[in-house]
Symmetry: C2
Subunit: 343 residues, 2 copies
Amino acid sequence: MKRPTMKDVARAAGVSPMTVSRVISGESAVSPDTTARVEQAVRKLGYQRNDNARNLRSKNLGTSTIGLVVDDLANPFYALMARSVEDEAHRRGYLVLVGSTNDEPRREQEVVAAFCARQVDGLILVPTIGNHGFLKQPMEGGTRVVCVDRPAKGLAVDTVTVDNRAGANRAVTHLLDHGHTRIAYLGDRFGIWTQRERYAGYLEALAARGVTEDPELVRHELRSQPDAAAALAELRALRHPPTALFTSNDLITIGVMDGLGQAEGGLFERIAIVGFDDFPLAERLSPPLTVVSQDPVALGSTAANLLFSRIDGDRSAPRSVILLTRFIVRGSGETRAAGRRPV
Amino acid sequence: MKRPTMKDVARAAGVSPMTVSRVISGESAVSPDTTARVEQAVRKLGYQRNDNARNLRSKNLGTSTIGLVVDDLANPFYALMARSVEDEAHRRGYLVLVGSTNDEPRREQEVVAAFCARQVDGLILVPTIGNHGFLKQPMEGGTRVVCVDRPAKGLAVDTVTVDNRAGANRAVTHLLDHGHTRIAYLGDRFGIWTQRERYAGYLEALAARGVTEDPELVRHELRSQPDAAAALAELRALRHPPTALFTSNDLITIGVMDGLGQAEGGLFERIAIVGFDDFPLAERLSPPLTVVSQDPVALGSTAANLLFSRIDGDRSAPRSVILLTRFIVRGSGETRAAGRRPV
DNA sequence: GTGAAAGCGCTAACAC
DNA sequence: GTGTTAGCGCTTTCAC
């Protein structure tokens, strides 16, 4: 009932284990006759090579395994990225270990350590806010690392991100173009790099038009849809409520849409919305959502390609790749501010 | 620049490798004094144990790694399942290898073989249509297997599914209750078990009310949203178009909603829809969608718990767990058939 | 409490 | 073309 080993196959075929090894790996030349005998024994015993043992001995080949560490694998954005990474890995005969961090530095460290203990050849990492000194040792040991979606503070590795700041700037400028000056910002945790960048883009856009930021209109740390809906309710209760919203990720956008749905029908026609992140059915909402769209598949495949080129021996200086977002106009961002003319 | 080994640590601490091993694993008793010396050497060298080598020697512990094989990791349904499996694994100190099959038996076999070559302790599998004889050898070798979402034909393993047939029956009965008799079925590939079950539920519901199936109203093999939208257009062009639709997964439901959106506003109010699978924003569509909802997180955690109980030594006969779906009424399925009275 | 020897399953390096 | 020896990094086993 135990798994057969090469020794078992060798005995069954009447050859040495080394010959079996050669037949299995197909590298070295073996006579057709013995090859056949070995292959028959393999089939008879249902032998399959133990790749862990193999990798232990031949250190020049790695383990053909990479680790993918994301915030949350259940998030559709990271799920798409993961699939894209997996496809690139599969093409090259690599396997993928996955782990979610929940954005907790401690869990990130645990997952990375466990992956490195398994001798992964490389790591694709959506880094948490935490410190990444723990990566130094594995990297010196030969584990390649690529960051994706956000950079890791003080870590000199290839990094793939999107132009969060420019994308947000574009969105807010669009709202300004339609006559809005009271534009609220609804964001997730300010500790997350992408959120800080998007907020910076928001400020940049306002500043470029000479609009002063109103702290009353800025809400960070919205962690869920209900959070976002609640923030919206607060904003609308202000003496001078916003006429437009910039929501800085899909979760918040959806939460806000829910909040609007619960309000009286007439009102929400007045509020313009542009959101960061596209999502399924965004164009079927009323009004259809104008969004800044990023491409998780491109993020994943770009990161994977960078990683594999490093694994294949590229030792050049770390690169930083910035992918472009797309601005998709669908209607929700084109509502004009009441009583104002466009610029 | 190479990774330090236990030997290196031993030398640095002036002890034998065996003592280092004992300190690292913390099993056996080591004097506080030497423990401290070893720990210091570990820190100094940045030593981390090679778990592959460890697993090779100690066969009684497994590799603490499981494999998760799904149709498509990018599918939100499987992404949620994967996250749930990963959480269960993490709790127990296991790692998760993931692979997507695209529902291709060949790729399934490749992925499973690669996982088994890495000596995974267990496999959670969304099986393709193909034959699963290739699992026999690994299972005899000790790899535990659990199927989830669908059973594998002729494979005696624990299986976790939902009551697809009953859920579909419930949905179609609901439409019949609202006076519909011309109810179209829009389904994905008939080769997929869940789709056959849902279709069976559709037929059962019709039969229970003495409604004869009209083959004109049945469309299988819809692989994408455009496929679904096209099928809808065909159905509406019939001389006797359906007054209600049962869509057998989220992708098809969304495709149909898109098709309806493109039609003239007045018309689509007349067609009732109930879909299998809930999804974000389903309640924000117009009309809000009535759906049969299944819980991917429960599927994943149930499968994981079964797997780990097997890994922990449970040798009882294979179990089949069927989770219940929920029927969620939101409006789209409650439109009455024109000129008819409810039952 | 600690160490020496052997070996997990495989392959690199060298024989022949 | 094939076999032998040694050893990857660790732990089991048995000694002390």
